[in-house]
Symmetry: C2
Subunit: 384 residues, 2 copies
């Protein structure tokens, strides 16, 4: 197929540092090329890909040291470029979360698919989406859909990682193990809970995280808490550092306090055979197989108890489950199925399909799937 991938411009694809969305877009793009598709990647000009790069500027927005950047204008220019080239593609996969592309793509909406990568609980999204209800969306977890239950969800595709980047180690429980917190020092991520859990469990905690100074007061609090002797702060770690970090890890603590739409750190831990102890928020119950790849908890006490129970988990089984559910190959299988439906015209807004076929791995919880049975109002052409 002739496929366009449209990435956010905040980071390059793949990102130099932090940037979950751009990493996933990179994994997806490279695997699609490997499978023989003709792929164009619309992304920051410093991106690196085997696809046909349609470069947008020379630098990504977040790390541009030289210039004052306009995110709105930079994305508008890219989206206009996609529009001008749209005849060249069978499928256009857009990875923006806040619908900025809808006005520019409305005349060829039927061959687009949008994966929002962020949380969707912004009060402006439902009423704005309702103005472009013929745009098909694909979620990264069923929970992500909750604030937009009436949108035209046509797939649910969990993220996946390339197995060759995470070689299986197949080892037993490490000697002198420690706990790990991986992510950003940010209030919603609750590193403070991780520190408290480790203290109560009498275990060491290694924190591999970037300070997010947009919440400076919280960072200052954390610096104090991290002075505790059982805590070691590593700062931001790269892929090599992650492998070393997880080699001696008993479990990943993921004690979040926000509706995390996916949680890449969880599947990274699983890739190394490390169990995940995570709060029952956002996508956690979908990503963690409770009792197999880790434990889903609601309280500090439960988390401390789970640390003991984690000794009973088979770490090779954690890795196997990761390979089954969260490989890049599985992710690309799912997206290919969606693209095939798009290219076959299945998602055309004409007619009134009522029930849109679902591609990808979507669990059948009643609450979750309600959102799929929508009445398609083929309101378009308000430009005429």
């Amino acid at each position: 197929m002739r496929i366009a991938q449209v990435a956010p411009l905040d980071e390059s694809v793949p990102p130099r540092l932090y940037g979950g969305t751009e990493r996933i877009v990179s994994f997806l793009t490279e695997e699609l090329v490997r499978r023989g598709h003709e792929v164009s990647l619309f992304a920051s000009g410093n991106s690196v890909t085997t696809a046909n790069l349609v470069p947008q500027g020379t630098t990504a927005l977040r790390l541009d040291p030289n210039a004052r950047r306009s995110s709105i204008a930079a994305h508008l220019a890219m989206l206009d470029e996609v529009r001008q080239q749209q005849d060249r593609f069978d499928v256009i996969h857009c990875h923006l979360s806040h619908f900025q592309h809808f006005p520019l793509f409305e005349t060829f909406a039927e061959k687009t698919i949008t994966t929002p990568h962020g949380r969707l609980d912004y009060s402006d999204l439902p009423s704005t989406y309702a103005r472009w209800p013929y745009f098909s969306l694909s979620s990264i977890s069923m929970r992500q859909r909750q604030p937009l239950p009436k949108a035209r969800w046509v797939g649910n595709v969990y993220h996946g990682l390339p197995l060759h980047l995470y070689p299986a180690t197949d080892r037993a429980h490490p000697q002198d193990p420690y706990l790990v917190f991986l992510g950003r020092i940010y209030r919603d991520k609750r590193p403070d809970r991780a520190i408290e859990i480790a203290r109560l469990a009498g275990m060491r905690l290694k924190i591999a995280a970037k300070m997010d100074y947009s919440n400076r007061a919280y960072c200052e609090e954390l610096v104090e808490q991290m002075k505790s002797p059982h805590v070691e702060f590593l700062g931001e770690v790269d892929d090599v550092g992650k492998a070393a970090l997880f080699a001696g890890a008993h479990a990943l603590l993921f004690p979040i306090d926000w509706p995390e739409p996916f949680g890449l750190a969880m599947i990274e831990a699983m890739a190394f055979g490390v169990p995940v102890i995570a709060w029952s928020q956002g996508a956690v119950p979908e990503v963690v197989d409770d009792g197999v790849t880790g434990f889903v908890v609601d309280t500090i006490d439960d988390a401390v108890a789970a640390i003991q129970r984690a000794y009973s988990l088979d770490r090779r089984q954690v890795r196997r489950r990761f390979e089954e559910r969260f490989s890049a190959s599985r992710m690309v299988d799912d997206y290919e199925a969606i693209y095939a439906s798009v290219a076959a015209g299945v998602y055309k807004p004409e007619g009134d399909p009522r029930i849109v076929p679902i591609a990808g791995e979507g669990r059948s919880d009643q609450e979750w799937t309600n959102g799929n049975q929508i009445s398609l109002n083929s309101r378009r052409g308000s430009m005429n």
Copy 2:
């Protein structure tokens, strides 16, 4: 005329607190209604107007305490609503700065006029504007145009204030006068320079400003500097507070270090007959009549000298010049002239007018006016 005003949704119109753009949109809208035009105001739902309010949500984005808001989605919904109602208007005046409306307004661009209210030195703006070069823009100073010299500038309209809100006081120099700094505690505004100037001049300084904690380190520095006995910090002041503040003021210090596109605080001081001592940056040389309404300076020493020279200025003349150049009535005259040209089809992208007629008060500096002589590339309909 049937006129739509499209305001940013960050604040209500008029704003509850800080918010220059929304204040100007309010003054403009109310005066247009008074003159008998049929005006619709697209703005935050808590706006107050005599025009027909087309409310967007119930709360402005910046002060919404309850919800997570999406600026992109909120503005998209408003712009789509304008598009749906566009047949009802002769002229659509949009006050957004970063072109988000261009894709939605492209089929009726000839009856729109855009006033960007912010600085335009974002590196993404020129190449993005070039994709929609048939959109007419109106500047708030000639200096504002500099980063976008090739845009289709069809007018330059300085801001204006309603005279009834600023009654003339017609008084002599105050007893025991002090200097004033009005604005935000923000690095670019350089309150530190104001403190130093007042110290060197041996005068008291009253700082009426909101702490902008997006630059916390600078605010902390300033708090230290403001402990100096010659400095009094008043926090944010309302309109009544401003009148009292300027009643005893010798001069306004406006020692900015950024390309200020207009500078409302300067004309507020003038409205009270108070001279302005301002750095030669951004719109300052256009707004201050050097030697009449104040002094344009480049150094601390010059600023200190200007404080002495300000005793020789006629404060009634400062007020008269304010009335001539910066009344809301003059501002609305200028915009009405632009609207008349828009409604008469003067700015239609068809043909190649080369030189677009200029409405409003634009000075004829060569550098400034180069931007007006543009070749109009009537590139449209990239949707077809």
